[in-house]
Symmetry: C2
Subunit: 335 residues, 2 copies
DNA sequence: AGTCTAGATGACAACGGTGTCATTATCATC
DNA sequence: GATGATAATGACACCGTTGTCATCTAGACT
């Protein structure tokens, strides 16, 4: 049927075990042998059979990505980054969106580990920040890499990727302040995301006591932005600038402002967060903070692969990212 | 380590082969035996090891989804539909976005088949409409299901899922005409998608000879919508209504119209296609045709699973979907 | 030259299931 | 009660790798 290492071994005049060694880059294979084998591998277009490797090796060449994020752009960008690093390392990616509770999560992890014997997991918020999830994975000794919101600590955390939302939000705050705004509203997102707290306090850290700030709780959705902006308008609490905790909320705020005839940015400045493609397609285009999701995901994937392969990771740099301010047209000087 | 069918067999007092039979719903197992085994399976929380199943049977429990679509919403919705049907049937989904040429496609398929031994493939446009791709898969005897644009033929095509863009576009055309528009522009998408042709001619079929139509070629992107709308405006060819071949183009057209101070829908009506979440988040909200991507994907997945399992599919209904007109705020009666 | 050590390779079991074929119960029929 | 057909089960090889341990080779040291 298909080509096996035995076929290659026969053609190379070595034992099939030697071929296995070559393919896995094991030590103590003579260079000459290695080259000879590789030549035949190329020639025949051999591809290792993952099922057999998984079974024999007691570990697989696939990793799972478990997420619960309503933001399509984020998920797609993250997937693509992950796929890049996984496929480059010969791993497959098993995606598992989990909409429901943590019970569902445990179940998904269970099946993933038992059925597919995944080698590791990548987690994004909110799972990456859930202590119960982390404990479960730790107890079960499942390698995982988590993307979390915050500044990288000085002591290296080899299985975490940090995204410093605090600093980025502070930058947005500085910018809004520099434009001359003093009356500001923050449209917040789901509280269970750690980044929510980070973004709020980061932004606030740019403000002085004389600034007036109001914070409206909500979630990371367009609808939430509409609803909260509506409240501000109807209750006569419209500020001169709004910091929305992500682009969807910002777009919702924009929508509601429009609904009531507010000119953006003349009468109201709106800033978002994330720089989803989306933020370039609203009118006017959104000022936001660019989150390098693709790179974050790729790094997370690479780190996971290293952890799985037991590569010494102790002196590799801590993975840390910082979103960057992107000035566009939805913010301006106050009237 | 983990629980195997041998453990279950021992506890049930049967041979492990019998357990295998029960788990695969094979015939000729006594009901009593079946129940006894299943009880222990439940009790121990047994999950079959896919790697072993893949290796021993000569087929896997994973299917591939190969796509090349810049539309994040479409991809996410499609993935979710596919995941639903795959996971329900105990299959894993291997996603493989392919950005480049058909050469890359052949390579991806090659690896997917040899390394992961995928059991089948799901294809969406444009791959699903590429004769070379289809021929390759047919020659290699790889089961696949394709989502294609068009009306279902009377003779059943068991491995195709049809989406009737023609009719839906005609509905949009009827609606635009009923509003009283006579001067219309069509902002087209990538020509390699079959749906492009379908949508254009479907829409046109709603028009009479007295209507003035201009068609602008482009691609399925926001930027293309901006560019083409810009051309219409700058060359003084602004119609009273625009039919954009998808929501992104429509959003781009909206953006450009704004840029030049046109009132929507007072001075210009704009209709999109797809009903991505996106179309509800523009201002004003887009009139469009709702594409049930989730259901389409789920059906495609279910059909693929049936094909793989050799279930007789000959008298199951042809899978056919029709997008539905969604009237929103971006269209109105002409000035 | 003899001995030791590390480097290179091979033989073979094992991973956890499925496929094939043989064997044993069960039951209707004569 | 013997016979045959069919249902139910079991024994065992096999899928294509990796892991383990044994063997063989080549050079270094005494």
């Amino acid at each position: 049927m298909s080509i096996t290492i035995r076929d290659i071994a026969a053609k190379a005049g070595v034992s099939f075990k030697t071929v296995s060694r070559v393919l896995n880059n094991e030590t103590s294979v003579k260079d000459a042998t290695k080259e000879k084998v590789m030549a035949i591998v190329e020639e025949l277009g051999y591809q290792p059979n993952n099922a057999a490797r998984n079974l024999a090796g007691n570990h697989t060449y696939s990793v799972g990505y478990i997420y619960n994020n309503p933001n399509a752009y984020y998920v797609i960008e993250f997937q693509e980054g992950l796929l890049k690093s996984c496929h480059d390392a010969g791993f497959e990616l098993l995606i598992h969106p989990v909409k429901e509770t943590n019970e569902a999560l445990a179940d998904v992890v269970d099946k993933l580990v038992k059925r597919s014997r995944i080698a590791g997991l990548v987690l994004t918020p909110p799972f990456s920040e859930d202590p119960a999830t982390i404990e479960m994975l730790t107890t079960r000794k499942i390698p995982f890499v988590r993307v979390i919101s915050g500044q990288a600590p000085s002591t290296d955390e080899p299985n975490s990727v940090y995204v410093d939302d605090f600093e980025a939000a502070k930058e947005i705050g500085d910018y809004i302040v520099s434009l001359g705004h003093t009356d500001i509203a923050i449209l917040s997102g789901d509280e269970e995301h750690a980044s929510t707290q980070q973004r709020v306090s980061g932004f606030k850290s740019a403000l002085d006591p004389q600034h007036h700030v109001q914070v409206l709780n909500g979630e990371y959705s367009f609808e939430s932005g509409v609803a909260n902006m509506r409240i501000l308008i109807e209750e006569g609490r419209v500020p001169s600038a709004v910091f929305a905790l992500n682009d969807e909320i910002a777009a919702g705020a924009l929508f509601a402002a429009r609904l009531y005839g507010l000119q953006i940015p003349e009468q109201l400045s709106i800033a978002g967060f994330e720089d989803s493609p989306f933020s370039r397609q609203t009118w006017p285009r959104l000022t936001t903070a660019h989150q390098p999701n693709h790179d974050i995901a790729r790094s997370a994937g690479e780190r996971l692969v290293k952890l799985i392969c037991n590569t010494d990771v102790s002196n590799t740099p801590t993975l840390s990212f910082q979103p960057e301010l992107v000035k566009r047209d939805s913010t301006g000087i106050p009237a």
